[in-house]
């Protein structure tokens, strides 16, 4: 009889524990955890300027929330809001969680649209470049792929990467990434000595610091110094850029050893051939991006600016 009682008590306790855990897990994942206060904002721009803090009682959170939302929507038709909540873990610091409308995920940072005062000019050259890439560059590149074996193309690509070593080295230094500069230097020495730069055995070595896979350049250095993009610019043939990246590209131009080849046309032909050869991944990427877009111009602009911003951070 005693055994039975012990057994039942054990089962009931386990049952309760499992159940409470399930509840806890549910609450942890559900947005209506204990909500402390709600911050409403009429528009993204003046999120904090006009925001009001509303304190909601612990009980009936969901109802209160919807009621408040309705009230706020009546005042601000396009209002977006952030809910500040504290989870069931009482030790947790309050975290910002976006809620109900789910317009944003966990990043509550307001995104500013890309500054594009020359959109008309840009759109014109974007259309021009698009035609040029797809009707001229792409077929010519297919021909190039036909006449050159893959190892030749890969070799030339590695060679180009290796000759651009000064750009990466200088910009690592300018961003005070001394270890990164060291990695670039040893990679350059290794690849140059092994193969004059036509192979890239150094890329298989583990580095002492995480390296940005595209390498540092002047545009990223300016970004790292806190300089913003400025207006977005689309250049004929060269494609998307910004004022900052254009200035950066001029810097890269001076740091590129091929610039100093004589006579001038050898310099230009070398650069053009090497750049053209390295398009193997760019063309399909371009087609993927613009092919899936409803407005390819905006898609490209957004992707370009985000891509550059991500690399400034890396």
């Amino acid at each position: 009889m005693l055994n039975h009682k012990v057994f039942s008590t054990f089962l009931i306790l386990t049952l309760l524990l499992t159940f409470s855990q399930a509840v806890w897990a549910k609450d942890k994942h559900s947005p209506n955890a204990k909500i402390q206060n709600v911050l409403f904002a009429p528009k993204a721009g003046d999120l904090f300027a006009k925001g009001a803090i509303v304190v909601i009682p612990k009980s009936d959170i969901q109802k209160t929330l919807t009621a408040n939302q309705k009230a706020v929507n009546a005042i601000f038709p396009q209002g977006s809001f952030i809910v500040r909540s504290r989870g069931m873990n009482s030790g947790d610091a309050p975290k910002d969680v976006s809620l109900t409308d789910d317009l944003d995920d966990y990043d509550t940072v307001v995104e500013t649209p890309v500054y594009d005062p020359w959109e008309k000019w840009n759109r014109f050259w974007f259309r021009f470049n698009d035609k040029f890439y797809l009707k001229v560059t792409k077929p010519v590149y297919r021909g190039w792929e036909y006449i050159t074996p893959k190892p030749v193309r890969t070799g030339l690509k590695n060679f180009l990467h290796n000759t651009l070593f000064p750009v990466r080295f200088i910009n690592n230094l300018l961003q005070f990434r001394f270890k990164g500069a060291g990695v670039e230097f040893s990679r350059f020495m290794m690849n140059t000595m092994c193969s004059a730069g036509f192979a890239d055995p150094a890329s298989k070595k583990k580095t002492i610091v995480p390296m940005d896979d595209i390498g540092e350049d002047f545009g990223q250095t300016l970004g790292a110094w806190g300089i913003g993009h400025g207006p977005y610019i689309v250049w004929p043939f060269l494609g998307p850029s910004s004022l900052r990246e254009t200035v950066g590209a001029v810097g890269d131009w001076f740091a590129n050893p091929a610039t100093y080849l004589e006579p001038w046309w050898v310099s230009w032909a070398t650069k053009l051939t090497l750049r053209f050869n390295a398009l193997d991944r760019v063309l399909p990427l371009y087609e993927d991006l613009t092919g899936a877009a409803i407005d390819p111009y905006i898609s490209m602009r957004d992707a370009y600016i985000n891509f550059r911003n991500n690399h400034v951070k890396k």
């Binding site: 399930a22 899936a292 957004d302």
Partner: protein
């Protein structure tokens, strides 16, 4: 006998609770399951054969729809203006947008090329999880792909994909906001539909 019945009842309840716990799938498991199913379909010989490829693509689309929530994708890409859409418009939009993504991305896969997907970590918010993966291409190039997921319908569903740190949702959001400044929701839905059809016919040709 009464005691026995009570105990039996408690036992049954106990096991029911255990079963319920087992139902709670981890986001990573849900994603892995979906990705593996898609990979298996792409790797299969039926995919390499052009005759049976379209049937395989249909199967992939079904799995994608099970794991990706296009409604959640849609409301995030439209942004604050989603509330001005009627429920019917919201439904049409989600369907058209889902078709567009499937036709342009999923059907773009020509076949299995030795790509390897590996798990690279995850981070979680309150009810959101980001699963980071790395796709290793045959040439040695590694592309970071992250999936943002939320709990829905007893499992976890993807609501955003980030390739090289670029969010699909954010990229479309900037496009749609621009378009919705000068067009109606109906016009936008129509544009998405025609783009999805365009992508579909270009696949049929290749």
């Amino acid at each position: 006998m009464r005691h026995f019945k009570l105990q039996a009842l408690i036992l049954i309840l106990f096991f029911l609770c255990l079963v319920q716990k087992a139902w709670a799938i981890e986001p990573r498991q849900a994603l892995e399951g979906g990705l593996n199913q898609v990979l298996d379909l792409i790797k299969s010989p039926a995919y390499a054969d052009p005759k049976t490829r379209s049937a395989q693509r249909e199967k992939i689309a079904v799995i994608v729809k099970q794991n990706f929530d296009f409604y959640e994708f849609s409301l995030r890409t439209v942004g604050p203006k989603w509330r001005q859409f009627t429920p019917a418009q919201q439904k049409d939009f989600s369907e058209a947008f889902g078709d567009l993504l499937i036709n342009t991305y999923v059907n773009k896969i020509d076949g299995y090329n030795g790509e390897q997907i590996s798990y690279a970590g995850e981070r979680s918010g309150k009810d959101r999880t980001e699963i980071m993966t790395v796709v290793a291409m045959k040439g040695g190039k590694k592309i970071p792909v992250a999936y943002r997921m939320l709990p829905k319908d007893g499992t976890w569903k993807v609501y955003d994909v980030l390739v090289e740190g670029i969010s699909l949702v954010k990229n479309y959001r900037s496009q749609f906001q621009d378009i919705l400044n000068s067009s109606t929701p109906e016009q936008l839905i129509e544009r998405i539909r025609s783009k999805a059809n365009e992508a579909k016919t270009s696949h049929a040709k290749s």
